[in-house]
Symmetry: C2
Subunit: 156 residues, 2 copies
């Protein structure tokens, strides 16, 4: 289990990859972003909704980082940029980089981790970049983690 | 059809509303944000993925504004904040406000419209707020719009 204390500035997490399909692009678009160019009903080549691309990043991040972390809610994101169109068949490769880690002012049991999120295509060209914030619980406040200090050692 | 020239600072677009269900929250979470609290598999009450909430905004915005506009791609968003948790049954009410409109430096046929996007619950409390950018085509460059000038009038 990874706690607030385990996120250090400069840490890079490789998040694996996801190959996006036309079926998936159309399915997301139908529900959340029904523009012709995302539905494959435009004269121009089909491209994925930008929100879909961001959601693909989130899935990679949840599977690689959040699932093994003491993660709480996220207050938000900054400076999100869609840098290149994403097309059916593109392989999206994820990475997150820790930019900052500071104790939370409102919750003593947590810290805020500031990270850069990125997706690149299989040629390494960036397609998505943004900064996001996540609240992570501190190890010292976690009853489960605190259990690693055996009571017998407390008086030593 | 609404062109770049029709977006003026201060314009407010009411985007309608969407009532979010547990089925929809779980379905989005399963595919893009499989954290227990979004899947309804946590001791805490179920809340929607923040990316899902943003996608709901997009759907309202596409239906209300983009579908009747000369919209091109979006370069990105800034300062996105998830202000309150969204729970099954919540009604999400959308609004967009034009913050700025400037000609594009890279595309003479377009301008960039900067807008605030917001979702509130049915008590008017904000749940999502962000700034987004959208490229819109100019009326003067649109062959269809130019067609309203009838050739017979050109020599008049």
């Amino acid at each position: 289990m990874r706690y607030f204390e385990d996120f250090r500035v400069g840490d890079v997490h490789e998040l694996g990859s996801h190959r996006i399909s036309a079926v998936e692009i159309r399915s997301f678009a139908r529900q959340y972003d029904p523009q012709p160019v995302h539905l494959g009903r435009s004269a121009e080549p089909m491209i994925a909704s930008g929100w879909h691309v961001a959601a693909v990043f989130m899935r990679l991040y949840v599977d690689s980082v959040i699932s093994g972390s003491a993660a709480e809610v996220s207050p938000g994101i900054d400076e999100l940029r869609w840098l290149r169109p994403v097309r059916p068949g593109d392989l999206l490769v994820g990475r997150s980089t820790v930019l900052g880690a500071t104790p939370s002012l409102s919750r003593a049991d947590c810290g805020i981790v500031r990270q850069r999120g990125e997706l690149a295509d299989d040629s390494g060209r960036p397609v998505l970049r943004f900064v996001f914030y996540g609240l992570m619980r501190k190890r010292e406040y976690d009853p489960a983690a605190a259990g690693v200090i055996h009571p017998d050692t407390l008086g030593a």
